[in-house]
Structures are given as C-alpha cells and as structure tokens.
C-alpha cells in the first residue's frame, strides 16, 4: 500500500508547524469542497490556544500548541503528516522533533527555502528512506479529492476550482519547481485530464524525497497512468529518471519539459532561481538532458507549446467531476468572537422535567458538558454551600459592606467585594489546582516539591491558615475530605496531603486549607467521575476555572451582606481615629 493509498483511505490528518494563514485556509477549503473532514488537526507555534478558520461558510477553531509535546494524545492519533512552514533557521530542528514524536507519521513537506544543505542531508539520513518528505523549498503534496498538503495548487478558491482539485484523476505531476508544479496541474486540467497526485520536491540541491522516490511512487500508484514532469538545467536528477526507465522501474508514459536552453544565450552561466541551476558541467545543461531523455524513449519536446500538445495526447479515463460551488464561500465574513451555547434551552427545567439542581447545571455550563456522576454533583453542592459566606470579617465582605454604606447600588457593592478576591483572599483555589497538577503530572516527591517552592521564596498555594492549625483543624476541610473516600483513586488529594505532612513538620499552621483541599478534590473528581484527561484539567486551570468555585457562592454571600447593610442603613462608614495608625503626623515631627 503506497502513501497515496493511505491518504485516499483517510490517513490525512496534518500538524501544521509555523504560521501561514492563507495556506492553512486553502487546505481547509480544499477539504470542504472535496466533502472531507478538516485535514488540519492542530497547529504548533504562536501563543494562542486556537486559531479560527472558515469551514465552508461557517467557522471552526483549530487548536494551537506551543510545542509538539503539548499536543494531547487523543489528537496525536489523528496526525499522519507534517506541514512545516517555519523558516530555514528552525525547519531542521522542528522536523526532527516532529518525526521523533510521530514515529508512525507517513511524511511531510518543508516549505522554507533557506534550509542548509547539511541539514537536508541529515534529514535524508535519518528519515529519508522511511518517510515521504517533500522539500526543502517545496510547495507540498497534493492528492486531488483527498489531501492538499501545503500551498500546492494555489491558495485562493478560484484556483482550487479552476484546477478541479476535488476530482481524482490519472496523470501524476512532478517538478523541482513549485510554480511549475502549479502550472502543470493547470495544464493537465486544460488538456481535459485530471491529476492523480502532484508533488514539488523543491529546487534545492538535496531534496529529501528525491525524484527517484517520486517516480517510484508514481509507478506503484495504480491510479496513475502517466507522468508529466518539469525539470531545469543543472543537477543530475533527470539521469536518475533515465536509470529508472532503463531498469524498467518506471514504465508509465512520461512527458517532460527541461527548461534552460536560454543559458546558451549567455556569455557566462547565470544563477537562475534555484540552487542547483548553476551549470558547471556540460551534461547538466538543458540540451543534454533533453537528448538523454529522448534516447530513453521519453517525450521531451523542444518547446513548451509542443510539450503542452504532447500532454494532450496522453490517454485518460472518463472524468466525473465533483461539483464545486465556491459562490457561497466568496464573501465570507469572519466573526470576531467565538463562543458556544452555554445552556441548552431544551434542557431547561419544566420543558423536560430535568431534576438537576442549579449547582449541577451551573457546573455543567462551566465545563461545557453534562455532569454524570452523583459524587461530582454532591461535591459541587457541598463546596457551593460551604463557600457562601465565612463571616463579616473577611476582606471581601468588609469591602461590600463599606461600599453599601457609602450609598452605592447592588452591582457596585458586589463588584467592590468581588474585586477583593485574589491571591490572599479566595483566589488561591486555581493556583492550588495548578500546583497539585504539576506535582502529579511530573510525579514529584512532596519534599522536593516543598523545597522548590521554598527556594523560590513563594508560599505554596492551598497551604496555611491564619486561624486554624494542627490540633485545631478547619471543620470545612474535614467535611470535604470525606469525598476522597468515595473515589477509587485520588492522586491530587494524596499529593496535597503529602505536601501538608512536610509543611506541618516545620510549622503547625501550614495545614492544607480550604482552597487547597477543594482544588485537589475537584481535580480527582473531574478526572475519575467525569473522565477529564490531564490535558483537559490543565486547560481548565489555565483558564482559571477553579476560582469560579469561590466566586459563584461567595457572590451570594456578598449580596446577602449588601442587603443587610441596606436594611440597617447605618450611614457612611468611617474608621474611628484610634484604629488608624498615621505615620509622620505633624505633631510628632522633631526639630523641623
């Protein structure tokens, strides 16, 4: 089975490395017009988590990752191809990283033009025999109706339509030149035929996939009945083709144009566009290659118009064009915000008689999925209940009340309270979740973990309390801790407790606090009871999801404090003088 058969049977998922939105969009348009699923599975590079592209007239978000290692396993399974759009400075290292991470990948394409020869040769030695890698300096690989890996075939909708790229055909197109690959694709279509596959191996001196590999692939491909080739003066590639023909390893009809007889009009040899177009020996001239190809029985006409005529004479099978309607796709307007439907009106209580409580529905809305397990529901219920209020002394409640007393409205007073939430008050839940996640993911030892935080001079989030200590436990923590017993595994909770054992060994007040325990239990519950993967938990923590468990119930508490203040209406609040320490009072000045 050739790579082309694999592509046609669905192994078409691509990881795009580097950024070139027009190329990525053209691949998705090709997929859409070919009635396929999106081939671009993920992007690597940039600081965003997703990039938005058109999918037909609608839009899709393609996930972005900072590095290959960050791609979740579930997506990795769908990736078979690399499209490397990074610069020549980075293409080598990133290509190696790709094939090391994706040992089962089928191949890729490298777009950069300035990849050093030494790097290309190392890629040939490491992966050349096992993968089909077009480039460096390649516009890509195209299998009509199945996969457009790169800019090949053009990047605007008119080009995709004009070249009938959704229709599989029987003529293979190959060239060192990217521009000529596209020109030949169009020439094949203009001659009333369709393309079986097309590839530009790139104009560099050492293409990773050589012409030999390209022609061997065309020979093995049952769909390919003939080959159309463009070559240039310089290099000895065409002699490789002749060797294949002589050895009967390439037996299909071949029409070739070798450019560069213009060189004979120059006094000195001119460096043409491509690296190997610097003629140094007579047998690398366009003239000599044409003669040698003809001697091997190849149609290698003298002029380009004659070449187009020879192309027309190739036989082909009946064409049944896939209809491509690009009109609806023409004036697409990009949205500027992406969102999902947070709650489904169909699921509202009363309509279907849903028995879920507010807390369960709220949690489902935050997660973007329906809550499955009673354990999760009960835990959320308990957390929300526990965190509604913790007395009028705490800073957020104080701020709410002071604002209410200043005569402000509900939203202003509530905002004043909410804006107090931060690293020292209520806002450490998320930081604790990140800490426990890193501990469990990296299989850290609790002592080493504590030493790391100490070294950085930072307090560990979720550890320590002003009032409670060893021997005087926080009743809320004890109450939540019972949930651990209802799960089979609770690695985050165990890790948090192990950390507590280390820290309380030093200082009795450094106990696992309410933020720490609820972060740990939420992580364990979401993982075991709701089936969230580690990467998904990390994504939630990166989006500050866990702080919502404090913000939502405490909003209720703040509003309750507000209402009470309004009812009492004690007037403007002012700190009594004796409770205020003022530094540098005029009376205390000496000798001024």
């Amino acid at each position: 089975m050739t790579i082309l058969d694999h592509i046609r049977s669905g192994k078409r998922g691509v990881l795009v490395m580097g950024s070139h939105t027009a190329i990525v969009q053209s691949m998705l348009d090709f997929d859409f017009l070919s009635s396929k699923t999106p081939s671009v599975i993920a992007l690597v590079g940039g600081n965003r988590k997703a990039q938005k592209y058109f999918w037909g007239t609608g839009e899709i978000l393609i996930p972005c990752y900072k590095s290959i290692n960050a791609i979740p396993v579930s997506l990795k399974k769908e990736i078979f191809w690399m499209l490397n759009l990074q610069s020549g400075r980075r293409a080598f290292e990133s290509s190696i990283a790709f094939f090391e991470s994706f040992p089962d990948a089928l191949g890729g394409s490298i777009f950069a033009e300035n990849v050093p020869e030494r790097h290309a040769i190392e890629l040939i030695q490491r992966f050349g025999s096992r993968k089909f890698i077009a480039g460096p300096a390649s516009v890509g690989l195209l299998v009509p109706g199945s996969l457009k890996l790169g800019a090949i075939g053009g990047v605007d909708l008119f080009q995709v339509k004009a070249a009938s790229l959704a229709t599989p055909g029987s003529v293979a197109v190959g060239s060192t030149s990217g521009g000529m690959t596209n020109e030949l694709i169009r020439a094949v279509v203009a001659a009333g035929k369709r393309v079986s596959f097309a590839a530009a191996v790139g104009g560099d001196r050492f293409p990773i996939a050589s012409l030999t590999e390209l022609f061997t692939l065309a020979e093995a491909d049952a769909a390919t009945k003939a080959f159309v080739y463009f070559g240039e003066l310089g290099g000895a590639d065409e002699y490789e083709i002749i060797e294949l023909i002589k050895a009967e390893k390439f037996t299909k009809p071949l029409v070739a144009y070798i450019g560069g007889v213009i060189d004979e009009a120059f006094d000195e040899h001119v460096q043409f566009g491509h690296a190997k177009a610097l003629v140094r020996q007579e047998d690398e001239s366009a003239r000599a290659k044409r003669v040698a190809l003809r001697a091997a029985g190849v149609a290698a006409p003298e002029t380009f118009p004659e070449f187009l005529e020879a192309l027309k004479k190739l036989s082909h099978e009946a064409i049944n064009d896939t209809v491509m309607d690009i009109k609806p796709l023409m004036n697409r307007q990009k949205s500027i915000l992406s969102t999902r439907e947070i709650t489904n009106v169909e699921d509202m209580p009363g309509k279907k008689g849903s028995a879920d409580s507010f807390v369960t529905v709220a949690l489902g809305a935050l997660l973007g999925r329906k809550i499955q397990s009673p354990v999760t529901k009960e835990l959320a219920e308990e957390i929300f209940t526990l965190l509604i209020d913790h007395g009028g002394h705490v800073s957020g409640a104080v701020n709410t009340m002071i604002t209410a007393r200043a005569g402000k409205d509900l939203v202003s007073s509530l905002a004043s309270g909410l804006l107090t939430i931060g690293p020292r008050f209520g806002g450490a839940v998320n930081a604790a979740a990140l800490a426990w996640l890193s501990g469990v993911t990296d299989k850290k030892d609790a002592s080493a973990f504590v030493a790391e935080w100490n070294k950085a001079g930072e307090p560990i989030p979720g550890i320590g309390h002003k009032k409670y200590r060893v021997g005087l436990p926080d009743p809320r923590v004890a109450s939540l801790a019972k949930f651990a017993k209802r799960m089979k595994k609770h690695p985050h909770y165990d890790f948090a407790r192990a950390v507590e054992a280390v820290t309380t060994g030093k200082n009795g007040s450094l106990i696992l606090n309410i933020d720490g325990v609820l972060a740990a239990l939420l992580l364990d519950t979401l993982a075991e009871c709701e089936g969230l993967k580690e990467a998904e938990l990390k994504e939630l923590a990166d989006a500050e999801f866990f702080n919502a468990f404090f913000v939502i119930p405490r909003t209720v508490g703040f509003i309750a404090h507000f209402i009470e203040q309004k009812k009492n209406d004690e007037g403007l609040f002012r700190l009594p003088d004796e409770l205020l320490f003022v530094r540098g009072k005029p009376s205390s000045k000496k000798g001024a």
């Binding site: 020869e117 605007d156 000529m180 169009r186 560099d204 050492f206 463009f230 213009i262 043409f272 566009g273």
Partner: protein, 380 residues
Amino acid sequence: MSRIKITEYRAKKLILGDAYQGISFTEGKTALPKTGRFVVKVDQGIKKRFKQGLVVLDVPAKDIATVAVPWKKAGFTGFIAEPMLPHEAAEEQYLSLERVRSGIRVLHAREGGVDIEAHPEKVKSYLIDPARPQDVPGIPADFLRHLLDVFEKNFFAFLEINPLVVRGNEVHLLDAAALVDSAGAFFVNGAWSEEDVVTTQAKHPVEKRVAALQKTTPASLKITVMNPNGSLFFLLSGGGGSIVIADEAALKGMGKDIGNYGEYSGGPTREETHLYTREVLSLVLASKAQRKALIIAGGVANFTDIKATFAGIIDALTESAEKLRTAGVKVFVRRGGPNEAAGLAHMREYLEGARLLGSIHGSDVPLTMAVDEAINFVRP
C-alpha cells in the same frame, strides 16, 4: 539555498586559524610586511588565476604593492600576500571535498597543480561519512579529520586545495578555493559572513542598483543585462516559469534580442516591485532597438498575490508612461495566481488608459503566450 564563494583568505583562516600567515589587502591601507618573499594573488574567487596572470610568485616584500597595481587598474579589488614556500613540483598534490547526497566526496591525486583537469585518471575518489572518517592514503589523518570538522562546522559545500604540499605531518595549503552554503550563514556564528563572500562584479549600473536593492529585502530581486540594445525586456516572477518564458524567446531565434533576465519573487512589497520595475524600464528606454516590448510574465503562482505585485509595477509604469508611449513600447502580460482576476483587471485598465497595451492574459492561456505575442510585435 545556494553555494557561494568566499575569499581564499577567509577559507585558509578558517582551516589554519592563527597559523595562517597570509595578509589580505585591498586599497593599499593595510600594513604590508617589510621582509621576506611572498606569493601575491588576486583573491576574488577567479578560476585559473595562474593562467590569467593573476598570481605572481617569489615577490620581495617591498614589491608587494607594486605587483598589485596593474590588477587594480583592471578593476580587481581584493588581494592576498602569502609567505613563499619553496618546493618541488613533484611535491604538489590535489585535494577536494564536496558535499554530496550520501556524505562528503573527497578527491585526491598525488600529482596536483594547474593541469590536474587534464589528468582525471590520476584522481582517486572517496565517499566519507564525516561522523566516521576513513583515511585517505597520502593525507595525514589528523589533518583530514580537522579539515572535515572545519568543513562541517562552517557549512562548507565545496573546498579545493590545489596544490597541497605534504611533508611528513606538516601540511601546506598553497592555493585554496571554497564554496559555502549561503543558508548556513545564520548557524556559523560569524565564522564567515557577508564580507567574506566573493561577488561577481556588477557590470551595468542597473545591475549595481538592483544588487543594492536586494540587500534591503528578504524578497528575491535579480537582474542581468544581456543586450543593452535588445528588443525584449522581461519582468519575470521567478522560478521555473521564468526559465520557460526565456527559453521560448531563445527557441524562436530571439536569444540575442533579449535585453535582460532576472526575477522579482519571494513576496516583494508594492514599493520594492515599484523600484525594481523602474530599473527594468530604464533599460527599455535606453535600448536603441527599433521596436521594443516589455513582457510581464510568470507561471500560476501558488501564494504570491497578483493584485499586490501588479500595483507596484503600475506605479513604475505611471512614472515613465509618456516616454514609453513615445518610444512605441507595448506591454504583454501573462500571469496567474491568487487574486488573479482583480490584478489582471487593474493592469488591463491601466495599460489601455495609458495606450501601452500589447496583450494581457491570465492562467487560462499557455505560459508562453505573452512572449510569443511580444516576439511577433518586435520582429521586423
């Protein structure tokens, strides 16, 4: 992406380090040695220097500057002086290294010198994996290993040492020529740089100006003036398509009538395209040919925006429209790619309004259509 020549001075400095005693001098400001005898050479990557009289042997220190005077008059600017090494002709060996697909090809001959090319049968060929170097009989193993290391580390593509004199473990590089990989510049940490690259001298003022423009952009802007009084002038968008279009002119017997060859490619901006086009138009206007045509042509681009590049061309055409009209110049266009319809419509509207239109086509006609029509127009 391409192999470029560096000076002999830099190549030897990279190989020998501080042990290299050659002196590079250009405008005569470099302090030259007071004593000793020297070999003085033009150091501008010229082949067959010796046969062209660009090498003088056994020059006393006081005469170094004098030797270079006629070379300077002939337009040469870079020279080196190296301590003379008296040796027998029989000691001269040939050694070259070239990067090939499967490793480094080493060619070695026990007899070197200027006539090596006449005796290919004396050359032995070795294919060496730089990670596991094998020995080459006649070359000290340490030296060969060091040479391979320098070759790899500095992204060399080709190195020729001819003649090479070996005395026991002592090695003398009499003449050396090196090609480096231009794409390696970023990775060599300044071991060689733009300053060490030997450039073929731009002969025509237009070539000089385009070369200066090229230095300011990541796009590719190239031009070679072929016949200043030609009748066919090209604005080509690069790659294989450009070669096919120029081929067509040559195959129709118009090779000698081609005024220029070159390319604007790699995504030049509107302004860069404007400046490049201005230079081509200056050639068109300066040509004394009776009938002249400008051919704006290229293949079906994969990703270059046709509308944007054509806008820059129109900017330049606008500046010289009156003169071009007076000279009877017509413009012939064939181009395809992203934004093709809008770009072509814009160009057609402009050329018709300026009365410069020869013909204009998109990707629905063969690549060679515009050049064929231009040839029919200029042919007497």
